[in-house]
């Protein structure tokens, strides 16, 4: 039977339409960021502005020293965070996936409980400032994001269902310890899920602004998202209390819409280049079968 190397064109069509629906809003964001502010007031958002105006980016750039530093902070935090997170998470997921581990269910419950119950902002803040004393350090940006129940369960599910038990069995018979099994067999075969969770963790660290807000006073340690969002948050806060506030406070100039959109672009931008790297792990064909036998 002839193997079909051409994808069904209907599928391509559907996926193209879908991709467009995802991308068009970004196009709009970009277009608004380069639209002249007066045009925005007069004509609203358009997909191709009447007058191009790079004012928003110029405005952001004049703060370039801070932005560059914030990029540095965010990149450092993200890289360290993702690597450590993947290690810790997958190690725990591995233990959870071994059916002969008697504490499997207890541990699963231990993890899951944290996904539903939370003590709240204040105790969490106290733990990090009073107990660990990591305020105003990079650790405060890294540690909170290192582990999450969602990631643990996804990886565990993958281990349980996509790694053939026969492989693990044969490793055991060959006398391999759990560590060896984990590092030399399981990890290499889990590239798709590790890449997926790695990607999600990257995005989570990249987009995080809350830890900077709460723990960091030293501007040199602000994350990129916090820096960019500060102006937005200032404006929206003043908006929410506008009716009650002393009238002068509302005089703080609202950032131009184009600037808000430019901030969004600067924030997302780099991530777009990260995807192609991780994508090779999703390609069809990377299967267990190649390793078998």
């Amino acid at each position: 039977m002839k193997t079909n190397n051409r994808t069904n064109p209907l599928i391509i069509l559907f996926l193209t339409l879908f991709s467009l629906s995802c991308l068009i809003p970004f196009w709009l964001v970009f277009m608004v960021s380069v639209t002249n502010e007066k045009d925005l007031t007069r004509h609203g958002y358009s997909f191709w502005p009447n007058h191009f105006d790079w004012e928003a980016y110029r405005y952001l750039l004049h703060d370039s020293a801070n932005i560059a530093r914030a990029y540095g902070v965010t990149i450092t935090v993200t890289i360290i965070g993702v690597v450590v997170s993947l290690l810790i998470t997958s190690a725990m997921a591995y233990s959870l996936s071994r059916t002969e581990f008697p504490y499997r269910n207890a541990l699963g419950f231990y993890v899951f409980f944290t996904m539903l119950f939370s003590g709240g902002l204040l105790p969490w803040y106290l733990v990090y400032t009073r107990f660990l004393h990591v305020q105003d350090t990079l650790l405060a940006l890294i540690i909170p994001g290192l582990i999450g129940g969602f990631n643990i369960f996804i990886i565990r599910t993958f281990f349980t269902n996509s790694i053939p038990p026969s492989l693990v069995e044969s490793a055991k018979i060959d006398g391999a310890s759990e560590y060896r099994t984990y590092f030399s067999i399981i990890l290499p075969l889990s590239l798709p899920v590790m890449a997926t969770i790695g990607l999600f963790t990257i995005v989570s660290y990249w987009n995080d602004w809350f830890t900077s807000l709460v723990f960091i006073n030293n501007e040199k340690l602000y994350s990129l998202q916090y820096l960019l969002n500060k102006t937005l948050m200032n404006a929206s806060f003043l908006q929410s209390i506008a009716n009650k506030a002393y009238s002068n406070t509302a005089n703080v100039t609202q950032p131009l819409e184009s600037i808000r959109m430019a901030m969004a672009m600067v924030a997302i931008g780099p991530l777009v280049f990260v995807f192609p790297f991780l994508q090779k792990y999703f390609i069809k064909g990377l299967t267990v079968g190649a390793v078998k036998g």
């Binding site: 207890a106 409980f113 902002l121 204040l122 969002n229 500060k230 908006q239 609202q254």
Partner: protein
């Protein structure tokens, strides 16, 4: 059949016990320590105070006063702080204090300050307001009572503010010091002068102080200028114009109707039920249907001034610039508004505030419970009420570097803009005697004289319930429910998008179901008790 394995339960209990043990020990220890530190500090201060007043030569220990206030980040903050400290050392060496400026972003203010207070972080002077959680901060024990400190260390504060402390008192004690500034505002209409001239508009009808009389003008614009919004919003008649002109406010839903009622009428009513509310709601609806008001008025973050700037608007209901000789119906150039709009704007006041309780708690300085030397903090605050140089440093920065004086007004140094000068903010209204400040270039140089005059006007007409503070705690849940009920209707009614004929009764019904009667009754009860106690 176990839903949850026993080992899980054992594990969880073990963990919970461990957690309780760990946190119980550390935080209660910490809390005890903090409390005892604070007490110790207060005691040593108490023992110090008589010493300093008796013996001037006895020195105070050096102390750093931490000031927490909302502000956008200033890149040159450190140099201004140093300059302030140098100045303090040179001019008030006996106070032996330094200042640490700790501004916090507006967007982070709520979360950050809550956490700071709840985790007993040390700081001294703290800006707050009733719209920034002042009531809760007092209730939860985050602020210090200031009565004694004020009496001892705040002579310059008392010189200007002593009549206005009542509204900031809670349970008989004073917790916040109001900034000395304008005591109220004025609401009215801003008009684009070019359009007024173009159609030779007669503005005399507005002497009535009634916004209804704007209608013929709006009609003219609607008929002849298709691209211009006659009345641009946000800022609607049913907001400050209505409340200031018609009510003495008590809470978000309870008020005294002062329009056409006797001066000794202290009946508390639902402010959505007054005849004037209905009138203005109908009026706004009519105008909305006629196309006088822009349809996107309720968009959060919408800046009506941008529309004026772009030449797309004619009139705006808003807070007036405070000028000399303000009168209802008087037409004058509006300097600040014209700068904001980039074109000539004139203003016509339609209402002038009475002295309201709420205004006095709109901008206050307080001292945190965690302050280790509250006396010193009060001394610093007092300086802001008498020392122009200190105020100038805090508000404008270092002369030559961040500003230059042109004809006695503040201007940017040559070639600099607000964005790159390193230190630029408009927070004079946060601290001290605002009137001692310089004015900015472009502002009326007599701005603060105007304020003083205006204050005389306002303070001569106090609200009937001036000094009365409503305690919402007994009806807290009802207030939340009422606020929730309001959300679906209030915005729509005030912007003209909902028809009052149909929706106002619905709103009132929903409020009744949420317990508005209970709130009104409680407010009346507290008000009557206050009247008795104060002989009103």
């Amino acid at each position: 059949m176990k839903l949850v394995k026993r080992s899980s339960v054992v594990l969880m209990s073990f963990i919970l016990i461990l957690v309780l043990a760990l946190t119980g020990c550390s935080s209660s220890n910490k809390a005890n320590q903090e409390a005892s530190n604070a007490n110790a500090a207060k005691e040593t201060n108490a023992s110090k105070e008589p010493a300093t007043t008796d013996n001037d030569a006895k020195k105070l220990d050096p102390y750093e006063v931490v000031m927490v206030y909302p502000d956008a980040p200033q890149s040159d903050l450190a140099s201004v702080q140093t300059a302030m400290n140098d100045y303090l050392k040179a001019t008030y060496p006996e106070l032996n204090m330094t200042v640490k400026l700790n501004p916090i972003d507006w967007g982070a203010w709520g979360d950050k300050t809550n956490l700071m207070m709840a985790s007993n972080e040390k700081f001294d002077l703290f800006f707050t307001a009733d719209w920034l959680g002042y009531n809760q901060q007092v209730l939860k024990g985050g602020l210090l009572p200031l009565d004694d400190l004020l009496a001892q260390y705040g002579p310059d504060i008392e010189a200007v503010e002593k009549d206005f402390h009542e509204p900031a008192k809670r349970s008989g004690k004073l917790y916040g010091i109001h900034t000395h500034q304008e005591l109220g505002g004025s609401q009215g209409i801003y008009l684009d002068k070019a359009l007024v001239d173009k159609y030779n508009m007669d503005l005399s009808a507005l002497k009535s102080g009634k916004v209804e009389d704007l209608e013929p003008l709006l009609q003219t614009i609607k008929a002849n200028e298709p691209d211009v919004t006659p009345l641009v919003a946000p800022s609607f008649p049913l907001e400050a114009y209505y409340s200031s002109g018609t009510l003495d406010m008590i809470s978000s839903v309870a008020a005294i109707n002062v329009l056409n009622t006797a001066p000794d009428n202290f009946e508390v009513v639902n402010l959505y039920e007054t005849p004037r509310y209905r009138e203005l709601a109908d009026l706004t609806r009519r105008w909305f249907n006629a196309g006088y008001i822009n349809k996107d008025a309720l968009t959060p973050g919408l800046d009506a001034w941008k529309k004026i700037q772009a030449g797309k608007a004619f009139a705006l209901v808003g807070d007036m610039d405070i000028l000399a000789n303000m009168e209802i119906g008087s037409v004058s150039k509006a300097p600040n508004a014209s700068i904001k709009a980039g074109r000539e704007i004139i203003q016509i006041p339609l209402n002038i505030d009475r002295l309201q309780t709420g205004k006095m708690t709109a901008t206050m300085q307080t001292i945190s419970k965690t302050s280790k030397d509250p006396a010193r903090a009060m001394m610093l605050l007092n300086l802001f009420f008498k020392d122009q140089k200190l105020l100038t440093l805090f508000n404008f920065g270092i002369e030559g570097k961040h500003y230059v004086l042109k004809d006695g007004q503040i201007a940017l140094p040559e070639g600099k803009t607000m964005n790159d000068v390193g230190f630029y903010h408009d927070i004079m209204w946060q601290i001290g005697n605002q009137m001692l400040n310089y004015t900015r270039e472009g502002e009326d140089p007599n701005k603060y004289q105007n304020y003083e005059k205006f204050n005389e006007m306002v303070s001569s007409r106090p609200a009937r319930n001036f000094g009365f503070i409503f305690d919402p705690e007994p009806v807290k849940n009802e207030i939340i429910a009422i606020d929730n009920a309001n959300k679906a209707y209030v915005d729509g009614l005030k912007s003209g998008q909902l028809d009052p004929e149909e929706n106002l009764p619905k709103l009132l019904a929903k409020q009744k179901a949420a317990g508005v009667d209970k709130v009104i009754a409680e407010a009346q009860k507290q008000l009557d008790a206050w009247r008795e106690a104060n002989g009103k």
